[in-house]
């Protein structure tokens, strides 16, 4: 785990910013007073920089894309299926996008969110505007997010009013047949797992 001083240009010539110096000084004082430990700070920063994010959900999606039997288990019992991959602690319902159905997740009552799988909720997800409009005018909201769906596509809105959390299984984009599971996971975004985006086809080489 990197320590602050390692990243503050021991071996570089550029001057350290005033803010950076002040923060180092502050940490040093707080450690002396035993109000905080460097290890605790390291762990928190590490968790938020590396561990908390949508990569867990992306792994679940990629596995479902490559393994049809896993996909069936995931749709039937999301809670158990994600435990197979080492994720847990969330009562999960996975809803699948198809050519005829697009799923969108919201929590009108508060802002429930599957943190363990997709990290921190985007600021807009918790906004009054999203929470009230996603249920009422989903097609317009999606268009604002750049997802234009014909009226023939059903938009299913899932308002997580109880303890179940919802995750959208996006459609696998075309042109990805040769990609490894890990490469597929890299394509999956948090927004696609909320339902306000689709996973785009990878850029042509």
């Amino acid at each position: 785990m990197s320590r602050a001083h390692d990243e503050h240009g021991h071996h570089h010539r550029e001057p350290e910013s005033v803010l950076s110096l002040r923060v180092r000084a502050l940490e040093s004082l707080l450690i002396e007073k035993k109000l905080v430990s460097s290890e605790a700070v390291d762990r928190i920063v590490g968790a938020y920089e590396q561990d908390i994010g949508p990569h867990n959900g992306a792994k679940v999606v990629a596995r479902a894309w490559v393994d049809p039997a896993y996909r069936q288990r995931l749709l039937a019992d999301g809670t158990a299926a994600i435990e197979e991959l080492g994720f847990g602690g969330v009562d999960l319902q996975v809803v699948e996008n198809t050519p005829g159905v697009h799923n969108l997740v919201v929590c009108t009552l508060c802002s429930c969110y599957p943190h363990a799988l997709i990290g921190l909720p985007p600021v807009w997800y918790k906004s009054f505007e999203y929470r009230s409009r996603a249920v009422r005018e989903p097609r317009v909201v999606l268009r604002e997010f750049g997802v234009d769906l014909p009226e023939s596509v059903e938009i299913r809105i899932w308002d997580s009013s109880a303890e179940l959390r919802y995750l959208v299984l996006p459609q696998r984009p075309p042109g990805t047949e040769r990609l490894s599971e890990a490469a597929l996971a890299e394509l999956v975004t948090r927004d696609a797992m909320i339902g306000v985006a689709v996973v785009p086809a990878p850029a042509a080489r």
Partner: protein, 173 residues
């Protein structure tokens, strides 16, 4: 400096823009709910109070592999997938998970989730009273009326106590 000053008039004006007025008119929110939320934000009383557990860092960084405690055995479910139901229309006292926009509406049972602790009673010290939780599907037109978008059904997770059986819909096509 009081937080209320942070929510300056321009912020409040945003709340009162056309969309919000429409939502108040349609009963998605009431003016009281809006003002209550504003007051919450102003006073800093976050609806989700922080934990005071000293081991919170450990819990924060760890996910339990146990099934969440809110799944508890309860009586057999009354409804099955495909049943038509009507949500209750009385304004409940206190905590409830039935959003206002879905009160007194017809829906169809989409899935039987199982038995869960009932927050309406649990939050008021009346016991956990776990019972059947369902995914209920509502047509957009049923919720929002004629101006609703086509093909945009809303699914809500609702406890059995919010639901009554409803007569099968007459065919409209």
């Amino acid at each position: 400096m009081a937080p209320i000053d942070y929510l300056g008039s321009s912020y409040y004006e945003r709340w009162l823009d056309g969309n919000v007025r429409l939502l108040v008119e349609k009963g998605v929110i009431t003016r009281e709910e809006l003002e209550r939320r504003m007051a919450q934000l102003a006073s800093g009383t976050d609806p989700a109070p922080p934990h005071s557990d000293p081991k919170l860092l450990e819990r924060m960084l760890r996910v339990t592999k146990e099934r969440p405690h809110y799944r508890q055995p309860g009586p057999p479910p009354r409804f099955a997938t495909g049943d038509r139901v009507l949500t209750r229309n009385d304004a409940p006292v206190g905590h409830t998970r039935l959003p206002r926009y879905a009160r007194g509406k017809h829906g169809v049972i989409d899935r039987v989730h199982g038995s869960y602790i009932f927050p309406d009673t649990n939050a008021h010290g009346q016991g956990e009273q776990p019972h059947a939780l369902y995914s209920v599907r509502f047509d957009a037109a049923e919720l929002w009326g004629g101006s609703a978008e086509p093909c945009a059904p809303v699914h809500l997770d609702l406890w059995e106590r919010y639901l009554e059986p409803a007569a099968p819909a007459r065919s409209t096509s």
